[in-house]
């Protein structure tokens, strides 16, 4: 069993065996979206107009919920030290944990998004673009979020602090994610936005693990 897959397998198993991560993320995602019609009113074309944005903002907040515990549980039980002392680069360890986090939260969000699109009365032919945009965007959220999760290790009130640190950095993903959906809704081609989302994902893939490893290493010093 290759060490990278061993970490991914363990973290995914932990996420599903304790059952909280995925269910909690999806439950929050649904509740957050349901609040908007209650707040804004059930008027169909108003909901359709803001649908893409609401689903994206809710997905962004939901993917951030489980981020705080990305390193926290290992930090508390001493496992993070052993992971840092594993005979492999810390960046690869971080990448494995981020992949597990994405499988447990990002992926389910993208899969569940169409259902919430219905709630927001967005036209069904937009759903493929919505799911594609989320599939391209959520990895970036996990990668940048991992940096924040590493930085708050050992800090007081880590959860709230994590939101303040990473949400400003999530704005580019939100802007291009929503623009892809809105372009599709207006019958225009969402290719430009999706390409930029993909570019951001690759950039985050290159820089995220490296910065998150630096954050974890200084937390373990």
């Amino acid at each position: 069993m290759n060490p990278f897959l061993a970490i991914v397998r363990r973290d995914v198993r932990l996420a599903f065996r304790q059952g909280t991560d995925t269910l909690m993320t999806l439950a929050f995602f649904v509740i957050a979206v349901v609040l908007f019609p209650l707040g804004v009113g059930p008027e169909p074309n108003v909901l359709a107009r803001i649908g893409g944005g609401v689903v994206w903002v809710a997905a962004l907040l939901a993917s951030m919920l489980a981020l705080e515990r990305l390193f926290q549980t290992d930090y508390e039980d001493g496992g993070l030290e052993l992971l840092a002392l594993a005979p492999m680069p810390l960046q690869i360890v971080v990448l494995a944990k981020v992949l597990a986090h994405w499988l447990a939260t990002g992926l389910p969000l993208a899969v569940a998004a169409p259902v919430l699109g219905l709630l927001m009365n967005t036209p069904p032919d937009v759903f493929p673009v919505l799911v594609a945009a989320l599939l391209l965007g959520t990895p970036t959220l996990s990668l940048i979020g991992a940096i924040g999760a590493g930085l708050i290790l050992g800090a007081r009130r880590g959860g709230v602090l994590l939101a303040l640190l990473v949400l400003p950095l999530f704005i580019p993903v939100l802007v291009f994610g929503v623009s892809a959906v809105e372009m599709a809704a207006q019958g225009l081609s969402p290719k430009a936005s999706l390409l930029i989302l993909g570019a951001m994902a690759l950039a985050a893939l290159a820089l995220g693990p490296w910065a998150a490893a630096a954050a974890v290493r200084q937390a373990l010093e």
Binding site: L164, L165, L169, P172, V175, A211, Q218
Partner: protein, 245 residues
């Protein structure tokens, strides 16, 4: 240069600070006086906006300082992480609140300028929105810097954040501009502000110089305060002598 013994004799820095301090104060006050005189009295009102354009002489320099301070914060953080010099940690910690103050000022004066020009207190103009995001980056830095019991830990964590934030500033700016053009109703007065008439240039530069000198002036005060706080912590630790392993 280890963190501990550097606190014992930061003499070299204190000598430099004492030498620079009066110059910074002098330049700040004279440049501000000249800038205010030119800005408020000697320069013409704008043909479109009339007198309200004078707000520009505070708004634009404040926005410049907001970005300048964040760059200074990122540079100090990089030096602190790479060369591990304690002075860089202190400089970064001292810069953040001043930068946040300038960012807040840029937003406030922007809103006060926007009211007469666009009729509302807040317009989702691309630049104002980017400055708002910059304010959150500052608040994130300050919160993380103070979230640890051990100041050295807070300094290191926030230094990493400052660098990550600095890399993201252009990306956020690009995405906000794109978002702005996406939702920009064509009719709104181009938010580029008035064409800069050369007689307006002088007060603008003078105020910018005044703000920079003010920044150096307050920065030196804050760093000296941090040094004293460091010495107190070091003395208290030596006195107790049984800190955690």
């Amino acid at each position: 240069m280890k963190r501990l013994d550097w606190f014992a004799n930061p003499a070299r820095f204190l000598r430099l600070a004492r030498a620079v301090q009066p110059w910074a104060t002098g330049i700040a006050l004279t440049a501000a006086a000249a800038g205010l005189y030119l800005g408020l009295f000697a320069s013409p009102p704008d043909y479109q906006q009339g007198e309200s354009v004078r707000i520009m002489y505070v708004h634009v320099p404040a926005a410049w300082m907001a970005l300048f301070c964040y760059t200074a914060l990122a540079v100090a953080s990089a030096v602190a992480l790479i060369w591990k010099h304690p002075l860089a940690d202190l400089a970064a910690r001292a810069t953040a609140p001043v930068g946040a103050a300038f960012t807040f000022l840029a937003l406030l004066t922007g809103s006060l300028w926007g009211k007469p020009m666009w009729g509302t207190w807040w317009v989702w103009d691309a630049r104002l929105t980017s400055v708002l995001v910059l304010l959150f980056l500052y608040l994130g830095y300050i919160a993380l810097n103070g979230a640890f019991d051990d100041p050295a830990r807070g300094a290191k964590a926030s230094a990493v954040l400052a660098l990550v934030g600095f890399v993201n500033v252009p990306i956020v700016k690009f995405s906000v501009d794109w978002w702005n053009t996406l939702h920009q109703p064509a009719s709104v007065l181009r938010a580029g502000g008035p064409a800069i008439h050369e007689s307006m240039f002088a007060p603008l530069l003078l105020m910018a110089l005044a703000f920079k000198a003010y920044f150096v002036w307050v920065l030196l005060i804050r760093i000296r305060a941090e040094i004293a706080a460091g010495k107190i912590r070091a003395a208290r630790l030596r006195a107790s002598g049984d800190a955690a392993p």
